[in-house]
């Protein structure tokens, strides 16, 4: 390989508050190389990209580009140095033409400059031709398919003289045919001397495309290897290979009646297809999978947000229709959404109001709010779940992440549900609150609730679940028993085995 790598990262550290997202990562990218970056959710891939593209500054470590050390990288200076990132969702202006979009990126902006339309079109045509894309420069971006938009992004990157192209899960929403088109372009890029950092969860793509692979785990690089020297099993071992250090509360409940039974449930709009599973009272069914596997989408189907258009949903043995959240609430299904900061807890509203938001029909007897009842209910949950707050009148935004999660949980426990769906309940929650939430969830199951626990935290989903459903590509890939081997879960999530041992 050439003497000076295109990109060299040494001992890169990035902290977000108390969370160490990168703990001293080394990484090299050579010219003409496709270098795959692999890791579980939260392993540090996104953070690494953000540092390299200048979006976030590292706390420690050095970045060297083509032998030149750089510091104080910003998005603008990164672009000037030839670093380009192609995201899953292209960031183009849908109402402008391809040529206009490329022009906006590449032409030096001066508000009063006259636009040379001819040159703009010609440049766009040349760039598109270079990557072999059959896209008209005059096409409106809105009319292009997702991969075509990605190709436009790549054309922009090339036009800007990019030497380092980062692709973040570019194939996540592509069909097989579109993938091949994209792969051809990636190979073309690397042949012309561009270094490509390729991030994907799909192992077969990595074997197909990459020269070397670096695996990240918990913010650390666990090794860089030539792809030829690896196989699926060895990659999975690198990705997972960690001790389950945390202690999880033991399962104490015997699973009872079937609460929820799904038969071949699908929803074309959200990509969920052919899901068959059962959840029993007193049981925690974990849902593992990688980002985009369809777990949240399934939860949204079960909560009536994107109603199912195929299959049967049975609750306590009766077939039910879930067309809206109101239906779901009426049937005793509760959904604690992921991303509580945005939609779980209303930050401006007092804690008490937040907790009673889903039970107005019960609390407002004759539609008349009894403040006393609301207050005592809120106090009860605050005590029961040990919410650390100034009182029921304090706004939701005044709480820490873990306590907000408890408020969100309380809102749904107040509905006295039969089935509780938890979507990433401990994401962004500190360790102490995390184990408290684990204990609460375990206790709820013991009290006879059916729980579906969606989590990207592999030790958590393995440690907490009575059974582990593994999803991928919008469907259930396997159901594994409690305390399964993390490798088996990861293998099922990646789709390398058909069915795990049941």
């Amino acid at each position: 390989m050439s003497p000076a790598p295109l990109l060299q990262l040494r001992r890169l550290v990035k902290n977000y508050g108390g969370v160490r997202a990168l703990r001293g990562v080394d990484f090299d990218l050579h010219a003409g190389e496709v270098h795959a970056l692999l890791g579980e959710n939260g392993a540090g891939k996104s953070t690494l990209i953000k540092v390299v593209t200048g979006a976030h500054a590292p706390n420690e470590g050095t970045i060297t580009i083509a032998g030149e050390p750089v510091s104080g990288l910003t998005p603008t200076s990164a672009r000037a140095l030839g670093i380009a990132c192609i995201y899953q969702q292209p960031a183009l202006f849908p109402d402008l033409t391809v040529a206009e979009n490329i022009g906006l990126r590449l032409e030096t902006a001066s508000a009063t400059r006259r636009v040379d339309w001819k040159a703009r079109r010609e440049r766009a045509a040349t760039l598109l031709a270079r990557i072999g894309a059959a896209i008209s420069p005059d096409a409106e971006v809105r009319a292009l398919s997702m991969p075509e938009q990605q190709l436009v992004e790549i054309a922009c990157a090339l036009g800007a003289g990019a030497r380092i192209v980062i692709m973040d899960e570019p194939t996540a929403s592509l069909t097989q045919k579109e993938q091949h088109l994209l792969f051809a372009v990636v190979r073309e890029l690397s042949k012309s001397g561009v270094g490509v950092i390729y991030i994907s969860h799909r192992l077969e793509e990595i074997f197909d495309l990459a020269d070397r692979v670096t695996v990240l785990r918990d913010g650390e690089s666990v090794g860089t290897h030539p792809v030829g020297a690896m196989n699926e099993a060895s990659l999975i071992r690198l990705m997972v290979g960690r001790e389950v250090a945390q202690i999880y509360p033991p399962s104490e409940s015997a699973a009872g009646e079937v609460v929820l039974a799904l038969r071949a449930v699908g929803c074309a709009a959200s990509g969920v297809r052919d899901v068959t599973l059962e959840v029993r009272a007193g049981e925690i069914l974990g849902l593992a999978g990688l980002v985009g596997a369809g777990r949240t989408e399934l939860a949204r189907v079960l909560f009536g947000l994107t109603p199912a258009d195929a299959g049967d949903i049975m609750l306590n043995g009766r077939s039910i229709a879930l067309r809206s959240p109101q239906d779901a609430v009426a049937h005793g299904i509760a959904y604690v959404p992921e991303d509580r900061r945005r939609h779980g807890v209303v930050l401006e509203m007092p804690i008490a109001h937040n907790m009673t938001m889903a039970i107005h029909r019960r609390l407002f007897i004759g539609a008349w709010l009894r403040f006393g009842a609301e207050r005592s209910l809120a106090l009860e949950f605050i005590r029961d779940l040990a919410v650390k707050c100034a009182g029921p009148d304090a706004p939701g935004g005044s709480l820490s992440g873990g306590n907000q999660q408890k408020v969100s949980l309380a809102r749904w426990l107040a509905t006295k549900p039969k089935l509780l769906i938890l979507d990433e309940p401990t994401q962004g929650v500190d360790v102490g609150a995390k184990s408290e939430i684990h204990k609460i969830v375990r206790r709820l199951a013991k009290e006879g609730l059916g729980v579906i626990l969606i989590s990207s935290d592999l030790p958590e989903v393995i440690g907490m679940s009575d059974r582990i459903g593994v999803m991928g590509g919008g469907t259930l890939r396997a159901i594994l028993p409690a305390k399964s081997d993390p490798h088996a879960v990861m293998a099922a999530a990646l789709g390398t085995t058909e069915k795990g041992a049941a």
């Binding site: 909560f303 947000l305 809206s324 959240p325 109101q326 779901a328 609430v329 959904y335 959404p337 945005r342 939609h343 779980g344 807890v345 209303v346 930050l347 401006e348 509203m349 109001h353 938001m357 889903a358 107005h360 029909r361 609390l363 407002f364 539609a367 008349w368 709010l369 706004p395 935004g397 005044s398 809102r411």
Partner: protein, 311 residues
């Protein structure tokens, strides 16, 4: 206390203005002119209550002025045909409900931005009314003016009715589930949806409701004069939006209450008579009202920046 700081500051400003008037222009407090002033503002208060709900729900309705005119003229025509008041009043409210429902369907059903929808209905209704009526006044039978009561009894009736409505709505917003829904939807519609509330339905109902209130307000207005002017609602939307915003209802939704809107309305309504009594030229009225609105908006802006939107 801290939670209602914004409302209390408006009340304090109002108190200061009234105190100033008591010292420098005690004539302001003569009962009969004061009652007339309050009566004139009674219909505005009713519409302002509706506007407060709409804005708390993170929407806006600028068609209220045109709706007001249309309801006034239609109610006047019905009364002129000899319909008894007991029928004209519900008819005006029903017409308002229908007009509000049109806005509601477009905003909540088709998810169009309310400012554009109500701008369109504002212009359409106003021009439609001009076209049909050619600016003609409607002469009312005597039974309509002051509801057939004596002037002072009629004035009192209007003021009491408007205040009763304000109190009923203010309590309802606090004690009825739908009131809480309006706040929830205005703060975070997606969170409300995830909590099993139907944001689109709530939004629709709020638009219908402001229509009903506007219809009632139109009745309260035509009862004050022997004729219906077809342009009686011109500029009403700005007046009520200003009152609501001055009263501490956040234009970004989810925050504020009817009591604040009431105080805001009184504060703005005091400006013109105060100038008269203090012998200041009336040209200053709009400038001072504008300054009050600007002050309120700036105060909200500073506040939300400091609080990070959390408090």
């Amino acid at each position: 206390m801290k939670r209602y700081f914004r409302e209390l500051s408006v009340v304090a400003a109002l108190g200061a203005v009234l105190l100033g008037l008591a010292i420098f222009a005690p004539a302001f407090f003569q009962p009969q002119p004061l009652l007339s002033l309050v009566t004139r503002e009674a219909p505005t208060l009713v519409v302002a209550c509706g506007m407060a709900l709409v804005i708390i729900c993170r929407q806006i309705d600028i068609s209220v002025g045109s709706m007001f005119s249309v309801c006034s003229v239609c109610a006047g025509l019905l009364a002129a045909r000899g319909w008894p008041l007991a029928l004209v009043l519900p008819a005006a409210a029903a017409l308002g409900a229908i007009l509000g429902a049109v806005n509601g369907i477009l905003v909540a059903g088709l998810r169009l931005p309310s400012i554009v929808v109500t701008l369109a209905t504002m212009v359409t209704l106003r021009q439609g009314l001009n076209l049909v009526r050619q600016g003609e006044f409607v002469n009312l039978p005597d039974s309509v003016q002051w509801f057939g009561l004596s002037q002072s009894a009629g004035q009192w009736a209007l003021v009491v009715a408007a205040l009763a409505l304000l109190i009923a709505l203010g309590v309802a917003m606090r004690h009825l589930a739908i009131g809480r829904f309006v706040y929830a939807v205005g703060t975070d519609a997606e969170a409300a949806r995830l909590a099993g509330i139907r944001p689109q339905l709530v939004t629709f109902l709020v638009f219908v409701f402001i229509g009903v209130l506007t219809g009632l307000a139109a009745m309260m207005n035509i009862a004050q004069s022997p004729q219906v002017q077809p342009l009686s609602g011109m500029g009403l939307e700005l007046k009520v939006i200003a009152a609501v915003v001055v009263g501490g209802v956040a234009i970004s939704g989810g925050r504020g209450n009817l009591w604040g809107a009431f105080a805001g309305l009184l504060l703005l309504a005091c400006v013109a008579p105060a100038l008269t009594h203090l012998h200041i030229e009336a040209y200053w009225e709009k400038a001072i009202q504008g300054a009050i609105i600007l002050l309120a908006v700036v105060a909200d802006g500073v506040r939300s920046r400091k609080g990070g939107g959390n408090t």
